[in-house]
Symmetry: none
Subunit: 131 residues, 4 copies
């Protein structure tokens, strides 16, 4: 599936799942009405405990992004694509801002930081390209 978990990046695992579900809806890889992979299936896929996945899905329910379809699973709520696009931008902006802020406070100047960003983006996109 479209999720990739990194256990040691400072973001709680369930929170990574929450974010990536929002991203997938923003990308329209998950469509409103569509059922998500089951908690059990996803937990096997990601090598996580089912409770961890369930916690992520519960949070998404409480945010009105997923809803239960009794006995069948969890589905994307209607009309949340736009909201997920906004959320994606916010979540990514906030995390970048936090990293950039540390870099500035750490004494790097704007040019040095931009150079690092360019280098990392190049490495990351060439990785993706070569896969």
């Amino acid at each position: 599936m479209f999720f990739s978990i990194d256990a040691n990046n400072g973001v709680a695992i369930y929170e990574q799942v929450v974010r990536q579900v929002k991203f997938a809806i923003a990308e329209e890889a998950l469509q409103p009405g569509q059922l998500l992979p089951s908690i059990r299936a996803l937990s096997v896929d990601l090598a996580l405990n089912p409770n961890t996945v369930a916690r992520a899905f519960q949070q998404l329910q409480s945010e009105g992004i997923l809803e239960t379809v009794r006995g069948r699973g969890l589905a994307v709520c209607a009309g949340v694509a736009e909201r997920c696009k906004e959320l994606r931008r916010e979540l990514i902006s906030d995390r970048l801002r936090s990293a950039l802020s540390e870099a500035l406070r750490g004494g790097l100047n704007t040019e040095e930081i931009q150079a690092i960003v360019q280098q990392q983006l190049q490495e990351l996109t060439s990785q993706v390209a070569s896969q």
Copy 2:
């Protein structure tokens, strides 16, 4: 002092202290041989529990960046400025890479990400300038 702690940025507080000490040495705001503020003073300054600061300093000792000066406190080890510059670059690069990677996997393209980076950098530097 030169530290600023953000309890909600995903990085553990003691780890923020560790990083910022390294950054201060890289910036030469802390010179080799120079004594650090005492655990007690710093914990008051940052409104942290002394145990948290102590843990950060212990880690810095175990990495060979700080050393005890009998009866006087903890000092920056000789000759670590270069290493701290390298560490700073690594720590900041890794964190940026992690955020950038999430942004790419989340479906934003390079241009969108660069735009966010520019915007955040501008906001952050104009804030600093106006302080």
Copy 3:
């Protein structure tokens, strides 16, 4: 403490805890700023698993009713007493409405239902009085 859990009344245990915390704040038995009993202490008190209590407290946090005080516990947020009073009325009204609706649909008339309500209220208040 002021909580009483009934495992078999159809309301999930963690939800009972959520409701009773709101009620306690509405009653001003819990004041804004006040620390709640710790998860561990309360779980012992109520003979529940700590995770069950933690889940209730997490929900209360996500509703903006409790907040964490790092290393010390969970506290009632400022200014939520009024909101809890409204919530209490809603929660109790909804549950009563649901029971009354079933009674009406089940073929009892208004008088019979009112008689039952009076009888139950009398029994319940005389119990409390005699305690």
Copy 4:
């Protein structure tokens, strides 16, 4: 038919079916000897899975309220009308008691609770009247 299922009222769906069958017998909307609608028909009617209806009917059989009539289906047992009237009173009383007890423990006084009961009864009966 005379059943109405509310998926979110805390009572399990199969249990709602069990209760409403008892109520229908108490009201004499279902007469001893009378055949119930088939599991299949009722499950279509109520938009439930047949297993859920079957489970309700099984429980009613085990309580001696329904019995199989070979090749024809399930019928109301002879002489259960009185028992169902008692059961109805008990089931409704218990549920009301539970809600009233929560209201009292939640800090509302008898007058406030009675006012809520009156208001809800009025709303519910005027709704029925206007249908």
